[in-house]
Subunit: 159 residues, 2 copies
DNA sequence: GACGCTGAGTTGAAGCGTCAAGTGAACCAG
DNA sequence: CTGGTTCACTTGACGCTTCAACTCAGCGTC
């Protein structure tokens, strides 16, 4: 339990860290706010619907979808229940293996994604893409790649 | 309701965006997990305690503390109630102006911060600082500065 | 083919954040 | 000094996430 003189952050490091924390906290909040206001869904729900919309047959196993949208299986299950009530998704046991459950995007769900996407993309542009130069965007790609690798060396989906 | 041909993201932009989303979702989760496991507090609670510990008299007005820790006043009020129950903080009306409430870090609260900080700093190092080069850290500072400015042009605390 | 094992998914309870309404201190107008 | 306004903060209810059981399909073993 003795800390062998913890390596404190330098001023430069602290500056980078504080900026990152602030962005890390406020960017999700800003995206949620836009989607909630304009589409009545959360960013996570958008990720789920969008993930399905980009998949073959607009269908994905629950576990794959959970991984793709960076959420727990339990969280996804609750969310899919809500989306099902709203008529945007429905569930079916996988005919190939009854242990899996398939989440399928309905036509209404597809329409919802199509209607929500432009506003969301605009927000992403306004908050992240447009304020940065192309060079910074490439730097950001490499930086987040390294951070994501540090968080999960297994690299489930980051290749 | 007609979208004037939304400017979709290029492949390069999408790559940067997806990487950022993943980091944005998983980094807070990883930091919360470390603090919850090793210190029994959330990252937000740590920010609050840490913010107080760095202030003169270990004291701050609720509204200042809320702004500093990127949270709503309501959220802070609930959190301070919990921290008060644990004996790490106590509240006092501001003698200078009774409309304000001062949150004061107790000695136990100070000890808690001192005990939690090294582990937290280690996590920050492991997940962000060490995986990046000095150059990348400087790039990240500028990138998050621009994003934070886009989120809140008023720049409440980012100077 | 009955048994236990594994792993996907579901469910309900508990905890936290948000929203909207409420409280109360200072201040100002008359 | 009385009534209204503002602003900082608090409170309670509701919604979402998490955690810990639980269910159930498939698979292997005997």
């Amino acid at each position: 339990m003795d800390s062998p003189s913890p390596r404190w952050l330098t001023e430069e490091e602290k500056l980078a860290w504080l900026g990152l924390v602030s962005a890390m906290v406020r960017l999700p909040a800003a995206l949620d706010a836009q989607l909630q206001r304009d589409a009545g869904i959360s960013h996570f729900e958008y990720q789920v619907l969008s993930g399905l919309s980009m998949s073959a047959e607009r269908t994905l196993r629950m576990s794959e979808l959970a991984q793709m949208s960076d959420g727990s299986l339990s969280r996804l299950s609750h969310v899919i229940s809500r989306l099902e009530k709203r008529g945007w998704v429905h569930r079916t046991p996988d005919p190939a293996d009854g242990r899996y459950t398939l989440a399928v995007l309905t036509d209404d769900g597809w329409d919802k994604v199509v209607a929500s996407a432009p506003g969301h993309v605009e927000a992403v542009r306004a908050l992240v893409v447009d304020p940065l130069t192309r060079t910074q965007l490439r730097q950001l790609t490499e930086i987040t790649r390294r951070i994501n690798h540090a968080i999960d060396p297994g690299g489930t989906c980051t290749g």
